[in-house]
């Protein structure tokens, strides 16, 4: 098994190298996404300021600051888009070229995504994270996040990463059967930032809506690890949300395998 996974290592390391090579585009990405985090920050501050209430949607003002920026750190790290790799591979016929090699296409994609996730964790992830912790302690007068929470957060992030890429693999494969990939991508982006809690913490939604979110994989992508980081779950809740994440990893893995089987069966290898 170890040896089997070793063959995918070059995919991760090459993606890491590739990311470093395209630095310009990446800095632009950091700038734009951080910019939107700051807009959110100022918006929330205005909302807290005008509401008079200390707690909104179960979060204090200070917790909201942590939420906004940890959402940024988490999502830039775990939300790796692989569906566009899938579609280019399909369009350019690279899928067939992957089938003639003794390897698993999906694992090679996930490894590539892992390379990207590691890069995003290094720049800018950790820096913003550390900056946030310093700000928290020095300015907001809060406690440093405990080591247990950090470890649980990282564990949850790993599962989030898997949920995201496994979901996106299924998405890319399904999109491949419809002709309108671009429209689907737009819809996905808009829906996901909403359903994952990137835009508004899920605790702001009415109870009934939250119940629905509980049945979707999206809340496990970003909201769960950030809430773990904030220490919002008690022990039994913690066990439940982690188990739910694990369940989604399994479900999406199996679902992806089934879709992949169908796709390879019907694969139209273009031309030649």
């Amino acid at each position: 098994m170890k040896k089997k996974l070793r063959i995918y290592f070059p995919f991760a390391s090459n993606e890491l190298k590739r990311q470093m090579a395209y630095k310009g585009a990446f800095y632009l990405f950091i700038f734009i996404s951080l910019f939107s985090s700051f807009i959110q920050y100022f918006l929330w501050m205005a909302i807290y300021g005008s509401s008079g209430d200390g707690i909104l949607g179960n979060l204090t003002r200070n917790e909201m600051i942590v939420y906004v920026f940890m959402v940024y750190v988490t999502s830039s790290m775990v939300m790796i888009t692989i569906s566009d790799w899938v579609s280019t591979d399909v369009v350019e016929g690279m899928i067939a070229m992957n089938l003639i090699k003794p390897m698993d296409y999906r694992i090679s994609l996930i490894s590539r995504a892992l390379g990207q996730a590691i890069y995003r964790f290094l720049v800018p992830g950790v820096f913003i994270w550390i900056g946030l912790e310093i700000y928290k302690v020095k300015v907001l007068g809060m406690q440093v996040t405990g080591i247990v929470n950090i470890l649980l957060y990282l564990l949850s992030c790993i599962m989030s990463f898997l949920i995201c890429v496994l979901f996106d693999f299924c998405f890319g494969m399904v999109a491949f059967f419809t002709t309108y990939i671009f429209g689907m991508l737009m819809a996905k982006e808009a829906l996901i930032s909403f359903l994952t809690g990137q835009l508004i913490p899920l605790s702001f939604f009415p109870g009934a809506v939250q119940k629905v979110f509980d049945f979707l994989p999206f809340s496990s992508m970003v909201y769960t690890p950030v809430m773990i980081y904030l220490g919002k779950y008690n022990q039994s809740q913690l066990g439940f949300v982690l188990a739910r994440q694990a369940a989604w990893v399994v479900i999406l893995y199996v679902l992806g395998s089934i879709i992949w089987k169908q796709v390879t069966k019907r694969l139209v290898v273009l031309g030649g």
Partner: protein, 340 residues
């Protein structure tokens, strides 16, 4: 040992109608178009053979190769490559084969060639010593160092093809599938690629299955050829035999002194052959009379005599039918009645 047993492949695609109205109609109709690309093909290939798999455009060559490599699943029948069914155990089979699709690269587009080789070394689990040895060999026969550090997308077609062939051979596969490996190459590179294939076959006893539209590839490399047409196998045998059996035409070209004398000469009638069996053509400018005839029906001296009876002949050339002609004939008219 490769065994292909009664393999067929049907492509089912939704029926398309022209125009915008047609697109809407297509959305609601369930009509399907079935295309039988490969129709009940069987053959077996022994270890170390080089087999040319030829046929006209759209005959089903690439489709057969795709089934043998595990990219497509046969609709019916089974391929066994050294006992492994690629549609069942794709990865096991992939470990033992090398594939080059001339029209498409298997290398990573954005990465330097060297990185692609590093990845493939891991993917095929090639040991360091083996890698060293193989690279030395491949560098020699394919001249890879010239562009080893360039990204694949910057390579010229010929360089890319050499790189692809190298990549397919890195793990010393038992079977090598080449789908149009010389397409679009200049004469020198073509020659190098052919040499490389030959050396590899001799040195490692690699079985090679080659599709091509270049008769030169066939003449230089293949001892055996399989011809398919519209998905059906129409010939399977040695190159010699094909030439013997179907290369029945000979051409005698004679430069004549007095062309007026040829008027009214009907060789076919004179020699008691049909028009098909003996055809005349006259090139006015060079005063060359060409006679193409069936070698089983007529002999060269017979033809020459008949012409020399009417006019003096200054120069004579005799040509055997070229393989290209035979193949063209078969593509055009099939193998009529003489099917194997």
């Amino acid at each position: 040992m490769i065994e292909v047993k009664h393999v067929s492949k049907e492509f089912v695609s939704p029926k398309k109608y022209p125009g915008l109205k047609g697109a809407v109609k297509g959305l609601f109709s369930n009509e399907k178009v079935v295309k039988k690309a490969v129709d009940d093909i069987s053959f077996s290939i022994a270890d170390g053979e080089i087999v040319g798999y030829i046929g006209s455009n759209g005959a089903g060559k690439s489709t057969t190769i795709k089934m043998m490599t595990g990219i497509l699943k046969p609709t019916q029948g089974q391929c066994l490559i050294n006992g492994i069914d690629p549609s069942r155990a794709r990865k096991d089979n992939a470990q033992n084969i090398g594939v080059v699709f001339g029209q498409r690269t298997q290398l990573w587009w954005d990465l330097p060639l060297s990185e692609s080789f590093t990845i493939l070394k891991e993917v095929y689990n090639v040991s360091d010593e083996e890698y060293e040895e193989r690279m030395k060999f491949l560098n020699e026969v394919l001249g890879l160092p010239e562009f080893f550090s360039s990204p694949v997308r910057t390579l010229s077609l010929g360089q890319r093809m050499r790189a692809d062939l190298g990549a397919a051979l890195l793990h010393n596969p038992k079977v090598l599938y080449l789908d149009e490996p010389t397409i679009g190459l200049d004469l020198v590179v073509k020659d190098n690629i052919r040499k490389a294939i030959k050396i590899i076959n001799e040195k490692y006893q690699t079985t090679v299955i080659l599709t091509t539209h270049d008769i030169g590839d066939i003449e230089e490399l293949c001892s055996r050829i399989i011809i398919i047409d519209e998905g059906k196998k129409i010939y399977d045998g040695s190159l010699e035999e094909l030439k013997d059996t179907y290369g029945t035409r000979r051409k005698v070209s004679m430069e004549v002194k007095k062309q007026e004398k040829l008027k009214g000469l009907n060789l076919a009638e004179k020699l008691g052959a049909s028009h098909e069996e003996c055809r005349m053509e006259f090139d006015e400018e060079n005063k060359i009379l060409s006679v193409t005839f069936d070698k089983h029906k007529l002999q060269v001296p017979q033809v020459m005599n008949a012409v020399m009876e009417v006019t003096e002949v200054k120069d004579i050339q005799i040509q055997e039918t070229e393989l290209a002609e035979i193949v063209k004939e078969i593509y055009n008219h099939g193998i009529d009645g003489k099917a194997v």
